[in-house]
C-alpha cells in the first residue's frame, strides 16, 4: 500500500483532499475498512493536523482509497465520536 503525508484541506462526507509538503494535492475516498468514519474527518481539516494516509488505487475511480490515517504531529488527535 502506498502512503502520502500532508494536511487535509477539505472534506465532504467521507471524501477529502490532502496537500502534501511539495504542494501536490491528492483526492481520497475513505475505505469501507478504514478505522474511522466520515465524521472524524472535519476536525483534521479544522486543526490543520499533519497526517499520513495509507491508500490503494481503485480501477474505476480517479482518486485514492484511504485505508488508514495516522497523525504525524506531536499532539495526538482523538477520533471524535
Amino acid at each position: 500500500m502506498e502512503t502520502a503525508e500532508g494536511i487535509v484541506t477539505l472534506v465532504q462526507e467521507g471524501r477529502f483532499k490532502l496537500v502534501t509538503g511539495t504542494g501536490r494535492v491528492m483526492h481520497f475516498v475513505l475505505a469501507h475498512d478504514a478505522a474511522i468514519e466520515p465524521e472524524d474527518l472535519p476536525p483534521l481539516a479544522a486543526r490543520q493536523t499533519r497526517v499520513r494516509v495509507a491508500y490503494s488505487r481503485p480501477d474505476h475511480l480517479v482518486a485514492a482509497i484511504a485505508h488508514t490515517l495516522s497523525t504525524l504531529d506531536q499532539q495526538a488527535v482523538e477520533a471524535t465520536g
Binding site: L10, V11, Q12, E13, G14, R15, F16, K17, H27, V29, L30, A31, H32, D33, A34, A35, E37, P38, E39, P58, H60, L61, V62, A63, I65
Partner: protein, 301 residues
Amino acid sequence: MTVHPRALEHSESLLASMIPNEAELTAGARVEPGRRYGFFTDTTLCIGCKACEVACKEWNALPADDLELRGTSYDNTGDLSATTWRHVQFIEKIGKGGERATVMPPFQSHWLMMSDVCKHCSPAPCLEACPTGAIFRTEFDTVVVQQDICNGCGYCVPACPFGVVEVSLEDGKAHKCTLCYDRLKGGLEPACAKSCPTDSIQFGALDDLDAHARRRVAVLHEKGVTSAALYGVPGGPGADGGLDRFNAFFLLTAPPETYNLPRAPSRPAGRTGPGLASGLVTVAALALASLGLFAAARNSQ
C-alpha cells in the same frame, strides 16, 4: 435574471466574508428551514454542457469515474451512481436522410439534452426502505443519506424506481444527491443549479418553482412547443401513481421513456407504514453485529 441589487452591498474585490444568503442573489430564493425546496430542470433551456455534473463533483469532492468513450451521443457519464449525482442525457432526434432538422421550434429540439438527478421524491421509497434511519427528510424537505449512519445494507438501492442510489464499493455506503444539504444550511444555492449557464436547472422553494414551471409550459405551448410537459408534479406524469411528487421535477418535450425515465414510477409494495418497525430493528441489530465483526476482524490483522 439580472444582477441582484444586493450585490452592490459587496463591491470589494476581496470580500471580508461570504455573501450572506447568496441564494437570494443567484436563485432569487432565500433558504429557510421548514420550507420545501427543490429543482425545476427545464430541458428546453439545456445546452448539454455538463457544468452541473462538474459543479456537483467539485462541491461534493466526488471523484471522476469510468473514463471511457461510450459512443452514446455526447454522454460519457452513463448513469447516476455513487460518484455521479448529476447526469446529462443526450438523445439525438435529428432526422434521417433529407429530412434532417433545419427550421425548428423555439428552444431545445432535435438533440434532446436533459440533466438527470435524484428526484427527492415525496414520499421517498429509499427513505422508506432504509432500516437504519440513515436516509431522512431534511428541514428543507430534501432526502439525504446520512453518512455517519449508513451501514451500506443496500435496501434503498432496489427501492429507488429511478436507479439513483448506489452503494459504493469503496466506502461501503449508499450515495446520492443531497441537494447540497450543507450549502442549503449556509444559505447557498445547490452547486449544479448555481453553475447552470442557461438556468435550465432552477433552484427554489417548491411552490415558487411549481408556479414558474406551469407558466413556462403555457408560454411554450403558446410558442408552438405543444409537446412541453412537466414530469413529477402532483397528478402529472411521474407523480400520478405511488409518488405524490418529485422535489426535483422536469420539463420535458418528449415522453419520459425517451429520457429513460419511468412513465409511472412506483413505490415497492409492502414497504410503507410503520408496521415494519420491528423488522427494521432486527435488520439494524444485524447490521450492528456485522459492524462489530468487521472491526474485530480488522483488529486481529
